[in-house]
Amino acid sequence: MAVVTRGFGGRRPASERPVPPGQYLTDDFPVLSTGPTPNVDAPTWEMTIRTEAGVEHGWDWAGLQALPAEDVTVDIHCVTRWSKQDTHWRGVPVDALFTEVETAAEFAVAHSFGGYTTNVPLDDLLDGRAWVVSEYEGEPLAPLHGGPVRLLVPHLYLWKSAKWLRGLTLHLDDEPGFWEQHGYHPYGDPWSEQRYA
């Protein structure tokens, strides 16, 4: 349907191993934003988990650093069709934040400084499948990429990995986040190409 433009390829390396359908590899880490980059200093950073019963659990920067961190090497997939392989992160598995959280909720909403939100089933944040990360490629996570702390849920499209994380709220029902309210898929599995609702 679309007209092919001769010689146009974008700036994309060849794929060496499978990427999800409709995705293209990039060596860059495109910076995409929906608003001004929040200016959050690590020393004053805080986050909370609020359960469906209204109980809050909080961490400051020192509290997060005191939890056991892991080095994580994963592929990431953005719904805007770029994928990046073998990215290196360091952070705390989300499980470590839930050791004292009592909840019957099946759904979570991640909240960012700056107002961004995204919804993820709680099971997808647990069992070693998601991290709260503060380092990327051996360096403190830059503000442009969500620093000081972002969520990393690499098995879902990257919009689920909320930058500038300030908290999670837990819900009995699935509540759409920012992009999900505007027609993006509530779950966002890249291998099933769940781009749009």
Binding site: V31, L32, S33, T34, G35, P36, T37, V79, T80, G115, A142, L144, W159, W179, Q181, H182, G183, Y184, Y196
Partner: protein, 93 residues
Amino acid sequence: MEHAPAPLDGNCLAGPLAGFFTADVTVVTGCCRHCGDVAMMGASVVYRHPMGAVARCRACTAVLLVVVEHPDGTRVGMAGLAWWRLPVESGPG
């Protein structure tokens, strides 16, 4: 040195919203539901995220409008606008 993509002016909403309204959206005046600022959409601050264009209030940065070009049709969220007013005449002056 990496930079965040700089926001653009509301002028760039014209393409994604072409055909959605009979008026050119950039000369439509809107009122921010959050702070009450009144301005033409062309004066809003637009972050042209590839998932969708996000127009923010020039005064308080609240989200005014989100335009997502879905394969099955363009979808516009306008929850941040209290009202819109069509221009009597188009063009400056």
